[in-house]
């Protein structure tokens, strides 16, 4: 018997510790929205947008980070070149 299988959806094993995103400091509507989704402001990145505007790096823990150590907010703002990725 021949069975033809057509892939519909492929999902890889990412198993991440958290999700992060950058948002313009002036974009209050978006920041409120992300906060309502459970994201927390992790740190400010100075001049991230073309040197003209700061970004907020928001993070949300995933189940893998049970101790929450990857999302403890930083008090000090950082420069874009200090970003890890």
């Amino acid at each position: 018997m021949i069975i033809i299988l057509t892939p519909l959806r492929v999902s890889s094993q990412y198993n991440g510790w958290f999700v992060d995103l950058f948002v313009r400091a002036s974009n209050f509507r978006a920041r409120e929205m992300y906060e309502s989704f459970g994201y927390v402001p992790f740190r400010r990145v100075l001049g991230y947008y073309s040197g003209e505007e700061d970004a907020w790096d928001y993070r949300k823990l995933l189940e893998r980070d049970k101790d929450g150590f990857s999302c403890i907010p930083l008090e000090k703002a950082i420069e874009p070149e200090e970003l890890e990725w």
């Binding site: 999902s11 510790w17 929205m33 890890e84 990725w85």
Partner: protein, 143 residues
């Protein structure tokens, strides 16, 4: 009715009404193609009943998975752990206030914490099945 679906390359030709938003960045085609080919699960759109793109989320995974960052100015920190990253999230104005952004973010978060690799397939008998791929074998878990 709104449906979530994997972003298709042809969506690049019809997403103008989404990207005209001043806070939505329009990147060069190669940038979208890189995400499309490297992190397809992270590139999801929602379409309306008449097949219009309402919005999309594009993201990736990055970081190191061994506890702390091994080099650079943040050596020893946990800031750069393996994680999902949202590169852009946008919904066109006429489809706002419907919870579409939340659906797109939920989908990205689900993908980011997946702990098994699965392929959902349709067999000739049109039954939907889920195949779990593990390092030693491929087996069917549901039909």
């Amino acid at each position: 009715m709104t449906s979530l679906q994997r972003f298709r390359l042809s969506d690049l030709l019809t997403f103008n009404s989404v990207n005209l938003d001043p806070l939505t960045e329009t990147y060069n085609i190669g940038f979208y193609l890189e995400y499309y080919t490297r992190w397809p699960e992270y590139f999801t759109s929602t379409v309306s009943h008449d097949n219009r793109v309402q919005g999309y989320v594009m993201g990736k995974s990055e970081g190191v998975d061994n506890g702390t960052v091994q080099s650079g100015p943040n050596k020893g920190s946990s800031y750069g752990l393996w994680h999902g990253h949202v590169t852009c999230l946008t919904v066109q104005p006429m489809y706002r206030r419907l919870g579409i952004a939340r659906q797109l973010m939920d989908s990205l978060e689900t993908v980011s914490q997946e702990t098994v690799s699965t392929v959902t397939v349709v067999s000739r008998s049109c039954k939907k099945s889920i195949v779990v791929i593990n390092p030693l074998s491929i087996y069917l878990i549901a039909q």
